[in-house]
Symmetry: C2
Subunit: 497 residues, 2 copies
């Protein structure tokens, strides 16, 4: 058919509107697999695709590889199959079923059983693979509750394993395996190794190279990508597939406002600076469905010192709302949703401390009695006193019938003076990254709105919606565990063409 509407001047294309193959002037680069983004998912996709025999070109917008994982703690959430050799060395047995059950709970109402099953069964093998790529895991164990190790230890409790209700359904084990590095920031070690390995096996990495549009053929299959390098558009043919591994969208505030407006309450971002949603936008433009775009990681890092975990959070009703020994990201989500944005952490003299990450935290009230604190906070008469009295009464017996905090963290708050640390919205510095992304099969194949794969298009890492898809269920190491594992899957599948 031909009408006025089909005039053939060069069509515009954009991240959100693919370029049609007829409009490609020439192929500047031809390869089997194109990987967009050289972070945790992209590096692993490149390694696997290359090792499967494919020619691989990686395009990275930054001047160097690493992505947002470079800035992270470099923690990988793995276990199952009886335990990694690190878990076993420290006496932790970890069955595949316990890991599966935990990850299904962590995925929340939208958990993907097929994806979780594949991961639970192969996480130990994946950990071994990471070691073979040269990622160092020292193999020592760090007990206690931490955000990230401050030492160079590499096995820690990094989620809700020991907290209700998770602990009731799945036998707990520490599963956070951190790349060896002294202090916070092991991600740089992890990513240096993975990027180096990708190049060592022959993937060609292009830096300062911005993907600006996918290329589709007449069947809506993806056959390449347009990339801007040194100010010029290059048309790159991907004979077998394009892997979108360009991160999430937390730094794109317009996208956050549109897709995950509740995350706007978080003033800090977990990002290497390029989580601008470009991968997700390209996928949507190609007809991909995005899922759980409202979900995000949000942490309120109220400890260490871990003594603060023995405090109790209360809201504007003077009531508790979460077992404070839950993972800090779970606590963060509960903090964010309290009425009127009012939340305080109550502590007594013995456990008082300033949170390492927020040493200048506002002390909203101090008193010699809880009644004084209640009045100073302007809470309903008797509300806070009742809450603390009941908490203390049960804590003295090692019980928390209301919120099921574990006995380890139960201690009556009876040593005056008492204080309330402000976690009210205005005083919060919550940290966020996005969890929503393209709907994919565990193989990385991007699905359209009918659940059918879009030929030639793959996604992994935070460009896809992976294991982390429920803010309340996140555990440290889940995003990098997911990105590296399913990045590998996507690379392998893409290489098959």
């Amino acid at each position: 058919m031909s009408t006025a509407q089909t005039s053939t001047q060069a069509p515009p294309y954009s991240l959100a509107r693919p370029c049609r193959m007829e409009d490609v002037p020439q192929w500047d680069i031809e390869t089997d697999v194109v990987v967009i983004g050289f972070g945790a998912a992209g590096s692993c996709a490149a390694i696997e695709a290359r090792q499967a025999g494919a020619e691989v070109h990686v395009f990275e917008v930054a001047a160097a590889g690493g992505g947002s994982a470079w800035w992270s703690g470099g923690e990988v959430y793995v276990g199952g199959s009886g335990g990694t050799h690190v878990q076993k060395a420290h006496g932790f047995e970890d069955s595949t079923e316990d890991l599966y059950t935990y990850l299904m709970m962590a995925g929340g109402p939208g958990a993907d059983a097929e994806r979780v099953r594949l991961y639970a069964e192969n996480a130990v093998a994946h950990f071994n693979w990471l070691e073979r790529q040269g990622v160092p895991f020292k193999g020592t164990y760090l007990p206690g509750k931490w955000l990230e190790p401050m030492t160079d230890d590499t096995l820690l409790w990094s989620g809700n394993e020991q907290a209700w209700p998770f602990s009731e359904k799945a036998k707990p084990a520490p599963r956070g395996h951190t790349a060896q590095f002294k202090g916070m920031g092991g991600g740089k070690i992890l990513m240096e190794k993975l990027c180096a390995q990708a190049e060592a096996v022959g993937a060609v990495a292009h830096f300062n190279s911005r993907a600006i549009g996918l290329i589709e053929n007449s069947k809506h299959a993806i056959v390449g990508v347009v990339v801007r390098i040194d100010g010029a558009e290059k048309f790159v043919r991907a004979r077998k597939g394009v892997v979108l591994s360009a991160g999430g969208f937390i730094i794109n505030r317009e996208m956050v406002a549109r897709f995950a407006p509740e995350a706007l309450a978080c003033t800090q971002v977990c990002s290497g600076g390029n989580d601008d949603g470009s991968g997700i936008r390209m996928g949507i433009g190609a007809g991909g469905a995005a899922i759980h775009m409202d979900q995000f990681f949000a942490t309120v890092p109220f400890f260490p010192p871990e003594s603060l975990v023995k405090g109790i959070f209360v809201n504007a009703r003077g009531e508790r709302f979460i077992n404070e020994d839950a993972y800090h990201g779970r606590v963060g989500h509960y903090v964010l949703r309290q009425p009127e944005g009012k939340v305080w952490l109550l502590v007594d003299n013995e456990i008082f401390g300033r949170p390492m990450i927020e040493p200048n935290i506002k002390v909203a009230a101090v008193g010699e009695t809880w009644d004084e604190v209640e009045k100073e906070l302007g809470l309903p008469e008797g509300s806070l006193v009742h809450t603390v009295t009941e908490f203390n009464r049960h804590a003295a017996e090692g019980e928390d019938p209301l919120l099921h905090k574990a006995a380890t963290w139960l201690r009556p708050l009876t040593e005056a003076p008492f204080a309330a640390l402000s976690y009210c919205t205005a005083d919060l510095n919550a940290v966020a990254f996005t969890m929503g992304g393209l709907h994919t099969l565990p193989s990385g194949e991007v699905l359209d709105a009918d659940g059918q794969p879009i030929p030639g298009l793959f996604a992994a890492g935070r460009t896809a919606c992976g294991l982390p898809r429920w803010g309340e269920g996140y555990s440290s190491g889940l995003s990098i565990g997911d990105s590296t594992f399913f990045g590998r899957e996507a690379g392998r599948k893409a290489a098959q063409g």
Copy 2:
């Protein structure tokens, strides 16, 4: 460019993958504007497009028009501009700013200020327009709290207007305007009139006609639609635009599981039977972005009798969590998210009654004292007794410092025997429809992932994400108010081509 991947055999197309114009064998029907779905949004789009001079064809999958609105209460949420003539006749003044403020709160964190502004300023004119189309509004006022009128009255309180925190920010007014009909179900009157009017002004309606794919040109503009009629595919050219007004996706359980898994907890649907997400899937396939796909209406219709509003909801901690005088859909969302799925409505002998919609509700506990009820429910010792004691103490003074229930509904629960009605997940029959949909401008133009309009593509009603986009903020009449108002906008804009 030409490669093996561009072989030209007839391409497949589907709801989620548009047909390319080159692959259209012939135009079976040619018109200016195509409207897909003949419900509240589609009928209004058809009327406006036709009256703007466009030739209009409507394709409806059912054997008759009406859509899901036909099965509804036929309520339209309007006000502002000083009040509709009905509001004014009953002494209710309603400023545009109050309506605007209320609707912004109702839209939640993702509220669309531009859309809300347009609606708030023009809702009275829209109400008058509906009357001119022949929709009868009797003009009488029904005080009290209802799900829908059981009489043929037509003005009622239908949202959170009088409930905290809405009542603190926006001066309340009743804004539910219901098509005149005795009993529940005024939607059929509304839709009979609107569909009849669309045909009367010259829109051509095709029934038993299923849209199976959009048609796009080489610029990714939408130029038509493929429709299946009597088993045969018909290619329909839309010279000016296609309006997707095919409802939401609540009956498509696979889509619900994928996009709004929390809605799976609702066993009942608000739907005429064709909310299968086809409109949304077509839009996503054309590169449209879908937003707030996780959001849904969920009601737990625990009244009438309205005496039950004087009861108090408690959770597994024996604590209240919502002002019970809030809109039943807001209450429903709070009920659904309580820990362990355990919720009970506590009543005393004076206010006891069986909910009209759920007369066989399970009475989980009965006692001569609240202590007995607490024990029978297995709640933490003293928790429920404390909650009721404090509630009673304040209610006797007409106050509710914890949850701000309005004085009208405050009364101590002191007349034995006492009972707990079960709203635990296992006993719930919550009713749901979906609120997420295509991202559009107020004009109905569907936006891609970069926020740019897709030429030729429009959406309205639950196929778009409109005024209703936050489950906690819904008010009866908001969906039909939105669908009819923004259906008109889309029809007018589409007619401009």
